[in-house]
């Protein structure tokens, strides 16, 4: 663990809602990431995956309260709140926001928008910054000559690559990418995933790929964490998650995803996720689970190690629970 570049420990996020009970959006998640590693953070809408990485960036609105530790090279950058996060934001940990390709300022040239964070964070300025911005665009597969174009002159795929270049402006070591390929066509998606893969290999960038798309994670990431109702319910290598899932949600999520050559039925998961503004007793997935048994509705499952590097939060993995029921 000590070799990890980024360690997230017991991260919790609550949202204050006016006149309503608070909403516990992220409920004690842990993950770690080494240099050059690609981790998938997978889950459906509302599971807390975006909230979790926004919390790591320290970018949640004031209505959110955050608890937990985020260690970078072993140092807790959450220790003094915003004061200790600020020096690392963008310089060490950067993020590509969901829909970033549509968030460029339409009346400013692409190059100026990449130079801005460099100057703001005193990485480079003037001509040198513009040269670096050109290099970054080349890195993501856009010719430096196109740097002076406006966002509308770029196609969607190019804008997404430019958004990635912009996140890389301050030479971060960790990149958090929120649904970076979701609105893109498969061919453009493949181009962007190839780019992200190349960045981790060539620059040693550590990547957290946040997405609802399991096949994208299966093809891109070494490891993945599956989130449900604010918790990581299973984490391990993508190979383990597909071939020997130890949480029913992971298994069902894979079977809900059609495969190109897939035989057999594609099944949906009945029901909906629980509300996060109420205390859930027992396992939050139990009402939708096809193998729930005795303790599932009353005892909250802990995360258990089921194999080296493979954890799951399910009573089925706990022999004492199985015996007791």
């Amino acid at each position: 663990m000590s070799g990890a570049l980024l360690q997230v420990e017991d991260l919790n996020v609550w949202f204050e809602l006016e006149g309503r009970p608070e909403l516990h959006a992220v409920q004690g998640i842990d993950f770690d990431l080494s240099q050059g590693e690609r981790l998938g953070l997978v889950g459906e809408s509302g599971c807390g995956k975006t909230t979790a990485i926004l919390a790591v960036m320290g970018l949640l609105p004031p209505t959110a309260s955050v608890a937990g530790r985020v260690r970078l090279d072993g140092d807790d950058i959450f220790e003094d709140g915003e004061d200790s996060i600020r020096p690392h934001r963008w310089r060490d940990i950067a993020m590509v926001f969901q829909g970033a390709m549509n968030a460029f300022n339409p009346v400013r040239r692409i190059v100026d928008q990449i130079v801005e964070p460099m100057e703001l964070h005193e990485i480079a300025e003037g001509k040198a910054a513009r040269r670096q911005a050109g290099d970054l665009l080349e890195l993501v597969g856009i010719s430096a000559q196109q740097a002076t174009r406006y966002p509308h002159e770029f196609s969607g795929g190019m804008r997404q690559r430019a958004a990635i270049a912009m996140a890389l402006a301050c030479n971060p070591r960790v990149l958090l990418a929120d649904e970076p390929t979701t609105a893109l066509d498969v061919m453009i998606q493949a181009q962007v995933l190839e780019l992200l893969g190349r960045l981790t290999e060539e620059l040693g960038l550590a990547l957290v790929l946040v997405t609802h798309d399991l096949p994208v994670v299966a093809q891109t990431c070494d490891r993945a964490a599956v989130m449900y109702a604010g918790k990581i319910v299973e984490s391990g290598t993508t190979d383990d998650l597909y071939h020997s899932p130890r949480h029913p949600y992971t298994r069902l999520l894979f079977s809900a995803t059609p495969d190109l050559y897939g035989e057999g039925d594609v099944i949906s998961i009945p029901g909906t996720p629980p509300r996060l503004d109420r205390e859930v007793t027992g396992c939050s997935f139990a009402p939708r689970c096809d193998v729930a048994f005795g303790p599932c509705s009353s005892v909250t499952p802990e995360s258990l190690s089921v194999a080296p590097g493979h954890q799951a939060r399910c009573h089925l993995n706990d022999p004492t629970m199985r015996r007791a029921s």
């Binding site: 969607g156 066509d185 399991l214 891109t220 190979d239 597909y242 069902l252 059609p258 594609v266």
Partner: protein, 338 residues
């Protein structure tokens, strides 16, 4: 109309969109330009069949569907519905037809009026078409909801869209189409806005409707969904169908280089099944300037690798527009090399 003719037959359908040139352009006599959104598309759809139109954004799949439903006027080609030529029907005469062909939209969050209860939303099409008495309408609304999998209907009748989950909303949207008892359903990306865990139930519902005899034209960018749920797949590129055949044939034995490339970039569920994606450079060209010859040749891996030249076909690829022709039984491709 004859029972034997296919539900839908489309021949050489062509739809152009004018590109606005602005006042300055018009005065200075800049030539009028058009986008060749749909450029000679032919296919047919039988009752009880699901055909998936697959392609990337801008390939013309949605325009094809809109033209078929006569929401957009074609510049050439014919559309036959149950054997009747409807290509040039006037709008007044189209009205009775509209009932028989219904559209399901992509976004169930947008398709339903937030101020309408489920009952009102599903009844609305009946009112528009002046169908049934009050009690008949209520019966039809309930039947449509139950057919769309919202049973018992009275649990849902008085709810508002915000009280429903995403999957339930899409079911209500489908019920608003079913209430008119159509013969053809056009589903434009029916699950792309839904969570993974509920997509299968909506696709299964469409599959059941197909079994009950409806013809379904599904528009999707997702080849995996098409492969699993459609009977046949038509792959579109830049306004043309470049390959068409039984879904499994197209996916397992693709004959057009574009389809082959598309298949390599579809992410597979199994991490061990990592194939090297054949990534095409750039994006599809602008439909205003369709490349000469085969419209795919500037991005075609066969041309770029020299394989087309080795087979002495490169000149044809560059200069000769390939027709969609039968390569094997019921499997068509528009490629000189196929």
């Amino acid at each position: 109309m004859s029972a034997r003719s296919p539900l839908l037959e489309v021949e050489n359908l062509t739809t152009h969109y004018p590109i606005p040139r602005g006042i300055v352009g018009a005065i200075s006599g800049r030539p009028k330009q058009v986008a060749h959104a749909v450029d000679g598309v032919s296919f047919s759809l039988a009752r009880g069949e699901m055909l998936a139109l697959v392609g990337e954004s801008g390939c013309g799949k949605t325009t094809t569907a809109q033209t078929v439903m006569r929401l957009v006027d074609p510049v050439a080609g014919t559309i036959r519905f149950c054997g009747d030529d409807i290509t040039h029907l006037r709008h007044r005469d189209l009205r009775p037809l509209r009932r028989r062909m219904q559209l399901i939209y992509q976004d169930p969050y947008d398709a339903l009026d937030p101020r309408f209860r489920v009952r009102q939303a599903v009844e609305e099409p009946l009112l528009v078409h002046h169908l049934g008495s009050r009690t008949e309408r209520t019966e039809r609304v309930e039947r449509a909801l139950e057919r769309a999998g919202l049973a018992p209907a009275d649990l849902f009748l008085d709810r508002y869209p915000h009280e429903l989950s995403g999957g339930q909303r899409q079911r209500v949207a489908i019920a608003t189409a079913l209430v008119l008892e159509p013969e053809l359903l056009v589903a434009d990306e029916p699950v792309s806005m839904l969570d993974v865990s509920v997509r299968a139930e909506i696709l299964t519902l469409l599959d059941e409707l197909r079994r009950s005899g409806l013809g379904i034209l599904m528009i999707t960018h997702d080849l995996s969904t098409a492969a699993r749920f459609a009977d046949r797949i038509a792959v579109m590129y830049l306004g043309r169908i470049v390959e068409q055949g039984a879904a499994q044939d197209v996916v397992r034995d693709p004959r057009h280089p574009y389809t082959r490339a598309l298949i390599t970039v579809v992410p597979k569920r199994d991490p061990r099944d990592r194939t090297t994606p054949q990534i095409l450079k750039g994006e599809a060209p602008n439909p205003v300037k369709v490349p000469s010859g085969c419209r795919f040749h500037p991005r075609c891996p066969e041309v770029a690798s020299g394989r087309a030249r080795d087979r002495g076909l490169e000149e044809r690829c560059r200069g000769d527009d390939p027709l969609l022709r039968e390569i094997s039984r019921d499997h068509l491709a528009a490629c000189h090399l196929a």
